[in-house]
Chain length 188, copies 2
Amino acid sequence: MGAKGEGNRQRIVEAAESLFYRRGYNQTSFQDISDATDIPRGNFYYYFKTKEEILNAVIDGRIANLNTMLSGYDAEISDPRERLLKFTNIIEHGRGDVMQSGCPLGTLSSELVKDDSALHEKSKQAFIVLRDWMTQQFEALGLSDAGELAIDLLAKLQGVAVMASVFKDAEYVKRSHLAIKNWINLQR
Amino acid sequence: MGAKGEGNRQRIVEAAESLFYRRGYNQTSFQDISDATDIPRGNFYYYFKTKEEILNAVIDGRIANLNTMLSGYDAEISDPRERLLKFTNIIEHGRGDVMQSGCPLGTLSSELVKDDSALHEKSKQAFIVLRDWMTQQFEALGLSDAGELAIDLLAKLQGVAVMASVFKDAEYVKRSHLAIKNWINLQR
DNA sequence: GTCTATAAATAGATAGAC
DNA sequence: GTCTATCTATTTATAGAC
């Protein structure tokens, strides 16, 4: 891995990540990424053979960030319930972004179910990381239906994210966040 | 309104509706609609000046179908709770489609938040129709927070739809449908 | 009202100079 | 590694014959 071009590669991935989120994968062109990075289109193909490879790198980056964040929770918070509660703060911390562009994972996956199935499978990977981590937390709480609780929690978050982006109501997001935290506290 | 071309117009809208759902609005081209209808691209512009106008017609059609369905429930079912329960059957009746392409309303809205805001506003209209109808049902049940319950029910349905399309698990959909029906029965 | 031909812009991708 | 020029295909949209 030469260190020379990794700067450009990283800048391309970061700009693509933001654009894929704010404007969608299919609606983001190489020109858009070029404008955002001041790197000419032609140079992209030195790092990525296709647009799909950029998407793969973007999702790999998201998964890496997710793993870093979740490992941090595991290290810093001893109570699995507190870890789950901490994670749900993401919907209020990222409230503005969610109201403007929806959930980064959910909207990408919703877009890619309608494209090639290989792309959708890739976007599913980030959800699997989240689901498995949540399952571990519910298991650590001694709950036998941990896997189902994990999917249910993901569904609650996705439901809030969709409605937040449709109606753009900050009070709704706040109220729903509280309801989700209450639900987590009720699982025993 | 000449009757001559309304046949073609209707066929264009119906083909577009299906394609916008299965492949997305931005990923559907005039050529795709032309292939599906055997109507040449050039003729589209006699009925619609732009692609956005086709989308408007598609959403207006969905809203009309929604109103017909909901009015039917109002006429045939006397208990508001039973009407809500009846509506939620949509997620199991349309289970295959939802697992393959997500919720027609939710995925369209998630796609269009990232496009022009006028398009997103239009897609929001269908949600408003649903929300207002649900609010009426909860009000008829004598519940003071009817508006919030309506949004919460919509969020539950959207959450299930997103997770159904991500994991494509029919058992999950069935289980979640039961949970939603239980939740509706608990609102008193 | 219907259809063909085509314009004008943009997409992803490639070749090759530097 | 970087960048310019370009290819090919496809997009929305228009002009105008029929």
